[in-house]
């Protein structure tokens, strides 16, 4: 992997992060926001693995952290989607700007 | 295969090809072989299933085309290919097209880690077992795509059912396989198969057992319970009866395949049968020794290898052939069981399926993992590993350790099975009593 410098991988991860950032902040659909967040988490994961690969290939710390991120992302997805379904059931919509009432 | 290609290209032809070219060519050849095998297997499996199920129902089955109907699948294939490809107008055209591809392509990858014989494996991945199930989970995306793109409520219902079922049953499937990973300390399928030499007792547990290739994991209580759980989960993953809820034709036409015809339908069919074949093969590999069997060890010891440069390469070929034969024989035996199950049992309801998976199979496999840990502790650990109980009465031999482990895990597993079954039945009875008392249909009401 010496052919690809670390900067390239980091650039890719930062680009992915920014795309996910835009998606998470601008889409109205709750599930779409969740997808944006997943993209951001994946960008972080790429960073973790890249740093592991280029700076500390003798340790497994980078991989371990990436795995923890995946675990957290899975938990977040489960809870987030459950929330989306609960919201849909109550308001009949999943557009987050429609969910503006305090009635619960 | 790499060595053969290297030999032909560089030594014989003197091309001095670079390393990666040789690797590419050798992989291409292996892939070509596997991709040729897969559809042929499917062709034969459809015929095999139809004949077997016909016999079970006191019929004869297809016996017209070719000798005893052997060419029937080819006739069916020709029929499929020449059918008109119908796409609903309101379907999502691109997704509709992609769905069968996404479903069928991953199952072909699964062949990559399946060991066919001694040293006969396309890629001996160190994470082969995980790879197998990771790849199979991609197929579910294809099902969901198909169900959604068809713009048909039956297709969508079928896809939802399929995904709910497959995702739920992946958990017990993987949990039940964990015991093999624990016992062999590897996720490589080749290593798992190689650990199953011996005679009813694995040579990894008792090294001086004669090696007849029969030290299968299924002969231990741990392995047997895991086998039962895994096979049930595999039925659900392969959408076989009694878990064929996603394509329950009496309820939702053909599930996610409702709006498909012609080649696309054939691709779904192909994917399903390859998946079934592979699930049977993986069952045989992990629990029934894969290519292990009487005679393999002797052939391998005679054959040419790095350890034995004086060996005869003929024995390599013979060992490969015998190993493949054993694997296929076991696989087809399991497929026969699948067919018999199809002949015997009615379809489950979706709530029964979920109850069974989450309330029975998953706890059972978890207890089985405990048993597997105990097995390892009893058979292999001593005071050095902090497990001195077994050495309380002196220095037991390997066989004695094995027997103690057998007894302990047997008691645990039988008790777990009995207890969980009883619990589930009691739950069922309580539910029915609640129904009789005018309660709710699904579960007892919440207090608040």
């Amino acid at each position: 992997m010496s052919a690809v410098p670390l900067e390239w991988v980091l650039m890719l991860a930062s680009g992915l992060f920014c795309v996910g950032f835009f998606g998470a902040l601008s889409r109205r659909h709750a599930v779409s926001m969740l997808m944006g967040i997943e993209l951001m988490l994946n960008a972080v994961n790429i960073n973790l693995v890249a740093f592991w690969r280029y700076t500390q290939p003798d340790e497994v710390g980078g991989i371990i952290f990436a795995l923890f991120v995946i675990v957290v992302a899975a938990a977040e997805a489960a809870v987030g989607l459950a929330m989306a379904i609960a919201i849909y059931r109550t308001w009949q919509t999943v557009n987050v700007d429609s969910v503006d009432s305090l009635r619960g | 295969m790499y060595d053969v290609v290297d030999f032909i290209l560089n030594t014989q032809l003197g091309l001095n090809s670079p390393d990666w070219v040789v690797m590419l060519i050798s992989h291409l050849i292996v892939v070509a072989i596997l991709f040729a095998i897969a559809p042929v297997q499917v062709l034969f499996l459809t015929y095999y299933e139809r004949r077997a199920i016909a016999r079970m129902q006191d019929r004869v089955g297809p016996n017209r085309v070719g000798y005893e109907g052997l060419l029937q699948p080819i006739a069916d294939g020709v029929k499929m290919f020449t059918k008109e490809d119908i796409v609903p107008v309101s379907a999502d055209q691109r997704v509709h097209l992609l769905a069968p591809i996404v479903t069928a392509a991953p199952v072909m990858y699964m062949f990559a880690v399946l060991p066919w014989g001694p040293n006969m494996i396309a890629v001996d991945l160190p994470t082969g077992l995980l790879f197998f199930f990771a790849i199979s989970s991609i197929s579910t995306v294809g099902l969901l795509m198909a169900g959604w793109a068809s713009n048909n409520k039956f297709a969508l219902l079928g896809a939802m059912r399929a995904v709910a079922q497959v995702v739920s049953y992946e958990i017990p499937a993987l949990l039940s396989l964990l015991f093999a990973v624990m016992l062999t300390g590897s996720m490589s399928l080749m290593a798992i198969v190689e650990a199953q030499s011996g005679l009813f007792i694995s040579t990894t547990d008792v090294p001086n057992i004669p090696d007849l290739g029969l030290g299968w994991f299924v002969f231990t209580p741990v392995g047997f319970l895991a086998f039962v759980c895994f096979f049930i989960a595999a039925l659900a993953e392969g959408e076989r009866t009694p878990f064929d809820i996603p394509e329950a034709d009496s309820e939702i036409v053909a599930g996610y395949m409702t709006e498909y015809s012609g080649m696309k339908f054939a691709l779904f069919y192909l994917a399903q049968y390859i998946l079934n074949f592979l699930l049977c093969a993986i069952t045989a590999t992990i629990f029934f020794g894969g290519w292990q069997g009487p005679g393999i060890a002797w052939l391998v010891s005679q054959s040419l290898s790095a350890d034995n440069p004086a060996g005869n390469p003929v024995y390599n070929v013979l060992a490969g052939m015998l190993g493949t034969f054993y694997l296929l024989a076991k696989t087809y035996a399991f497929f026969f069981v699948m067919v018999a199950l199809r002949g015997a049992f009615p379809r489950l309801r979706i709530d029964q399926l979920m109850n069974f998976g989450w309330k029975f199979l998953i706890p059972l496999t978890m207890i089985n993992i405990l048993s597997a840990a105990l097995w390892i502790a009893i058979t292999r650990w001593g005071t050095a590993q902090g497990f001195g109980i077994i050495e309380f009465a002196g220095e037991p031999s390997n066989l004695v350790r094995w027997l103690i482990a057998f007894a302990v895990t047997l008691v645990i597993n039988v008790a777990a099975y009995w207890f969980l079954a009883r619990l589930n039945i009691q739950d069922h009875v309580a539910r029915q009593a609640a129904l009789a008392a005018g309660g709710l249909a699904v579960s007892p009401p919440r207090s608040a």
Binding site: - | M56, A344, F345
Partner: protein, 473 residues
């Protein structure tokens, strides 16, 4: 709704049996009610699943033997249709056909329009024939059309026909790619009476008996006017003369030349040298002979290995009284004959025409055509069901061989005689003289007619085969 219409005597007994027994010996479950059967839970969870699996695997294991009767639960009982056929019941009806008399070619239909009137889907159309001289309508049809594609096989037409002219056929293999061919005209509707006799013997016997009865009554009532119509008399006379001529002509020459009129199709009624009106008493013999032909042939084949060829009279295979056997054999004979007919059509191009397998003449002395393996004594087969199977088998084989012979004769000029113990009341010289065989002893005895017929059948068959082989070579 009250309670007793809903429930029935269902009990939850404390019996140790796995299933609760319904107490009432003759349970009458009312409409809308349900019987709740309580099952005892098995001791081990999952055990009943294994039991269920065991049942299925047991069926699989037992399915490799074929069932002989349907009383057994496990085992395949599939009939492999095109090769194996179940005997059709006599009352089976498919599509209507028109009948004509074998001997005279007289069509029974008088165009009374009864069937056309009663036909529910209105698929029968007919035109009454007219006397060409006077232009007056006569009791006959000039054209008769049934649209098979719309016919619903109700059988009303056959029911109302006062002259037994329209009957229901047994042929159900009507599928075709040509739709228009399902509008069937008179020439394709006509079948000889003997054909209908072969498929529905008792029905035809009944019809005939009632017709005779009616005739007798009418004779008594109006003796002056009842009798055979004058034009029929002329026809009959011509038929008699023709038969005599044929008998003379057949004497010195070959058997195949004995039927000068080529039997092209049933539509053109052949002026056969036959008895004028086949009396009812003749019929059983006729049938039995045909049946015997098939059976004897079959048994002879079976016995070839067992017993050396002694060209003596074959003992009776079995009595012809067994009805299902009879039918099957008859069916077989019909099929064989159809094949022979095909062969005949092709052979008609050649100078000689074969005779049809209608053993309507009492055969007296039949010379074997070629008999290295001439008629070994066939063993008696008492088992009726076995016999029936054998007959069916024979039919298949006969057809296959007929086909073979057919191909070969088409190449060569000579036509073999197929299972024809019928035509010449005297000797039948060998078809191919180089294979001449010692003549079989005559069977003069009248009760032995049947046997002789059987023997003749075997010999004729063998001859056909030999001839075909010889010609083919």
């Amino acid at each position: 709704m009250s309670n007793d219409t809903l429930t029935h005597s269902l009990t939850f007994t404390e019996a140790p049996a796995a299933l609760t027994v319904v107490v009432d010996p003759t349970p009458q479950i009312a409409r809308g009610s349900a019987v709740v059967v309580e099952r005892r839970r098995p001791k081990a969870a999952g055990w009943s699943l294994l039991q269920g699996l065991g049942v299925v695997v047991d069926h699989w294991r037992k399915s490799f033997r074929k069932l002989d009767d349907t009383t057994q639960i496990a085992g395949t009982f599939t009939t492999e249709y095109p090769e194996e056929r179940l005997p059709l019941p006599e009352a089976y009806r498919n599509m209507p056909i028109l009948l004509f008399d074998d001997a005279t070619g007289h069509e029974l239909c008088t165009s009374c329009f009864q069937c056309q009137r009663i036909c529910p889907p209105q698929v029968i159309h007919m035109t009454q024939a007219k006397d060409p001289d006077t232009g007056k309508p006569v009791p006959a049809v000039s054209e008769f059309i049934i649209e098979y594609d719309a016919c619903m096989s109700c059988g009303f037409c056959a029911e109302v026909c006062p002259f037994d002219a329209i009957k229901m056929d047994h042929n159900f293999e009507l599928s075709t790619a040509d739709h228009s061919s399902l509008t069937v005209h008179k020439t394709d509707l006509l079948r000889p009476i003997s054909y209908y006799q072969s498929i529905a013997p008792t029905f035809w016997a009944e019809a005939e008996a009632s017709a005779y009865k009616k005739l007798e009554t009418n004779k008594k009532r109006r003796p002056a006017t009842i009798g055979i119509a004058p034009q029929m008399l002329a026809q009959l006379k011509a038929a008699h003369e023709l038969r005599d001529d044929q008998q003379e002509a057949t004497m010195p020459t070959t058997a195949v030349a004995s039927a000068p009129a080529p039997a092209t199709s049933s539509a053109a009624p052949p002026a056969r040298s036959a008895a004028l009106a086949a009396s009812a008493s003749d019929l059983p013999t006729d049938k039995a002979a045909r049946l015997a032909a098939i059976r004897a042939r079959n048994e002879a084949k079976a016995a070839v290995q067992a017993a050396p060829a002694t060209a003596s009279a074959a003992p009776a295979a079995s009595d012809g009284g067994d009805l299902p056997t009879d039918k099957a054999a008859r069916l077989a004979a019909i099929r064989a004959r159809n094949e022979a007919k095909k062969a005949a059509e092709q052979a008609a191009a050649a100078e000689a025409a074969p005779t049809l397998a209608t053993p309507d003449m009492p055969p007296t002395d039949v010379q074997p055509a070629a008999s290295e393996q001439a008629a070994p004594p066939a063993p008696t087969v008492p088992d009726a069901s076995l016999d029936e199977k054998a007959a069916r088998l024979a039919a298949i084989r006969a057809r296959n061989e007929a086909k073979k012979a057919d191909e070969q004769t088409a190449a060569a000029g000579a036509a073999p005689t197929l299972a024809t113990p019928d035509v010449p009341p005297t000797d039948v010289p060998p078809a191919t003289s180089e294979q001449a065989a010692p003549p079989a002893p005559a069977v003069p005895d009248a009760p032995l007619d049947e046997k002789a017929a059987r023997l003749a059948a075997i010999r004729a068959r063998n001859a056909a085969k030999k001839a075909a082989q010889a010609e083919g070579e």
